[in-house]
Symmetry: C2
C-alpha cells in the first residue's frame, strides 16, 4: 500500500568507542567498529510525503533549505527510490530536537529518522539491520541511531558495505545516563570530516588507534555484558582520549580542545575523586559528555552547574530504536 | 694538580625533538635521540670543593639540602670519584638562575654544571662528549646542556650507555631566540619521570612515537643545516604535540594541559596567522615555550604580555657550552 505521509523519529547517539576514520569515503565505511549510547533527550522528527514535480524539497525546522543541502538529501532519497517501483519526488519536513546549545551534531538522528520514514514511504520493508546500511550512506554515525540502548556499528569487511551495519548490544536499562556540557557551540574550524581525513592520512598513531579500537570494542561489550559501570566508564574515557591523541599526532597537529574543555575535564576528575563514578568522552569538538549512573545524574549536574553556570549541563536518559510516529 | 675549589656554569636547554621514554632507567638511556636549544637566560652556577669527613654536603641556593637530595647528589659525585685517585668528600654549593616563575626544570643545567665542575676538581680531563655520558646519569636532559646552540643527544645502542652522548649540531647563531610563557609553576601531579614510564608501558602510540622521533631528528638537522626557520619551527611544534598525544593514549590517559595552556597555544597560532613566524613546544608540564627569530622576539613578547599580563613572557637567546668560571 502506498502511503501519502509518513513521520519517523530517531534519537541521536554518543559513541563510547569512537568512529574515527573512513576506509571508503563514498559509502561511509569505517576503519574501525564503534559503539554508542542512544540518548532519549535529543532526536529528530521527520515527515516525508510524495509531491508532484521531479525535484525533492527539504524543509528543516520549517525553513526551506538551500540547493546544496537539497542535493545532499536528494542523493540520500535516491538510495531508497532506486529500490522502489515508486519514482515520485519527496517533500522532507524535518524538525531537530537537538538544541543548538547542546553542541551536538544532529546528522545521526536526522539521517536515521529520514531513512526510517523513507523505508515506509517507499514500502521497502527493510529490516533494521539493512536499513542501517542505507542511513550509513547519509552520515556514518546515523548507522547507530537506528537502534536504542548500546549499539555497535560493525565495520564489516566487504567493499560494497553490505556488512557494515548496526546491531543492538544491550538495552542499557541498568541505571545509565549521559550528561552533556556544552563548551562552545560555534562552527568548528576543522570539521569532523576534515579532522578524520587529516588524521588517517598523516598521524603516525592512526594504525595503533585502529588496532586499539578493535580491542576496546571487545572489552566494552564484556563490561556491558557484566553491567560493570566502572569498566564501561574507564574504557569510554580512555578510548575518547586516544582519539584526541591521534589528532596531536597529525601533521600539522590539531586539537578541538578549548580552555573551558580542560576546566570541565579537570572538574569531572575531581567529582570522580570525591567518589561519584563519572567518565568523560568528547567527539570531534570542544564539548564534553559524561557517562554516569542515572541515579547520580542530578547530583553531578548540580555540581557541574555550580562550577559552570553559563554552560548548563543537560541530562539525558537512554533512547530507544528509531520508530514510526504516524503513517497516513 | 689538585684544585681546592672549582666553579662551573651550565645553561638549561629546551628540547625541540623531545626525549620521551627510557630504555634503561638506571643509566638514563633514552628510547629515542633528542635535539635541543641551549638557552642563555637560565643557568646554574655550581662550586665544588674537597672537605674533611666521609659525607658529601649539598647546598642549593644557600640552603643545606635534606638527606634524600644529598644521597642523590652523592651517588652522582661517586661516578667521578671512582674514576679518580682522590677519594675525598665534596661540598657542593649550587645556585640556580632558573627563576621558579619560568616553570622550567633546573635539573639539566644543575647536573651539567656539577659534572663540569667535578671533572675539573677530580682532574679527570674527560672531553665534553665523555662528560655528557656522565652527566646523563644525573638527569637525561643534562646530557644536552654540556653544549651550547643546537645539541643532539644521540640515543646510542650500547647497553652500558657509552655511545649515548651529546654532540653539538650548530651554534644557532642565525637569529634564533626562545620565549617562555609560564602557565603554572606549581608542582605537577604527575612527574615527567612517572608520565614517561606510564606512556612507555601503556600507550599504543609509543612505538610510532619512537619511530617518528627518529625521522624528526633527521628532518630538523636538515632544517638547521639549511637555516630554514619555518621548517625548524614546524618540526618542533609537530614533535612536541606528538609527545603530548602519546599521553592521551596512555592507560589511564593523562594530560599536562591547563585551561591557560590552550589559550596560549591559540594565541600563538593567531600571532603566526598574522605573519610573524613562531612555533610552540611544551615539555611534560603546562608551560609553553616558543621558538622564534631573535629579531621578532620583542614584538611577540609584547603581544603575549598584552594577552597574558599575569604570565610575563621571558625572552632568551642562545646559550653556550658549559664552562669553568673559576679554578682555585
Amino acid at each position: 500500500m502506498k502511503h501519502s505521509r509518513v513521520t519517523a523519529r530517531a534519537h541521536t547517539n554518543i559513541a563510547l568507542i569512537k568512529y574515527w576514520g573512513k576506509r571508503d569515503t563514498t559509502l561511509f565505511l569505517p576503519m574501525n567498529s564503534s559503539l554508542s549510547l542512544t540518548l532519549d533527550e535529543f532526536y529528530t522528527d521527520t515527515t516525508v510525503s510524495f509531491i508532484d514535480g521531479d525535484q525533492d524539497v527539504f524543509f528543516l525546522n520549517g525553513v526551506e533549505q538551500p540547493l546544496e543541502e537539497c542535493v545532499k538529501i536528494s542523493k540520500f532519497i535516491e538510495l531508497f527510490r532506486t529500490q522502489s517501483s515508486i519514482k515520485s519526488a519527496v517533500l522532507v519536513e524535518s524538525h531537530n530536537h537537538v538544541p543548538t546549545a547542546a553542541g551536538l551534531a544532529s546528522s545521526a538522528s536526522a539521517f536515521a529518522a529520514l531513512g526510517t520514514a523513507l523505508n515506509e514511504l517507499f514500502v521497502l520493508r527493510m529490516d533494521k539491520q539493512t536499513l542501517s546500511t542505507f542511513v550509513r550512506q547519509g552520515s556514518g554515525s546515523a548507522t547507530r541511531s537506528i537502534y536504542g540502548g548500546f549499539v555497535e556499528w560493525q565495520m564489516g569487511i566487504e567493499t560494497d558495505g553490505s556488512d557494515s551495519y548496526a546491531i543492538k548490544v544491550d538495552d542499557a536499562d541498568w541505571n545509565i545516563a549521559m550528561l552533556t556540557i556544552p563548551v562552545n557551540t560555534r562552527k568548528k574550524e576543522i570539521s569532523s570530516r576534515e579532522g578524520m581525513k587529516l588524521t588517517v592520512e598523516t598521524s603516525p598513531f592512526y594504525p595503533a588507534w585502529v588496532e586499539q579500537a578493535g580491542q576496546d570494542i571487545k572489552a566494552i561489550k564484556q563490561a556491558i555484558n557484566n553491567q560493570d559501570f566502572i569498566a564501561l566508564g574507564e574504557l569510554t574515557e580512555a578510548n575518547g582520549m586516544k582519539m584526541h591523541g591521534t589528532m596531536l599526532g597529525a601533521n600539522p597537529p590539531f586539537s578541538y580542545w578549548e580552555p573551558l574543555t580542560v576546566k570541565v575535564l579537570q572538574r569531572i576528575r575531581e567529582i570522580r575523586g570525591q567518589g561519584i563514578p563519572c567518565y568523560y568522552t568528547m567527539d570531534a569538538g570542544p564539548n564534553v559528555k559524561v557517562i554516569c549512573q542515572a541515579d547520580k545524574a542530578d547530583e553531578i549536574k548540580k555540581l557541574l552547574d555550580q562550577s559552570f553556570p553559563d554552560n548548563t549541563t543537560i541530562i539525558s536518559g537512554v533512547g530507544k530504536d528509531a520508530y514510526l510516529l504516524s503513517v497516513e
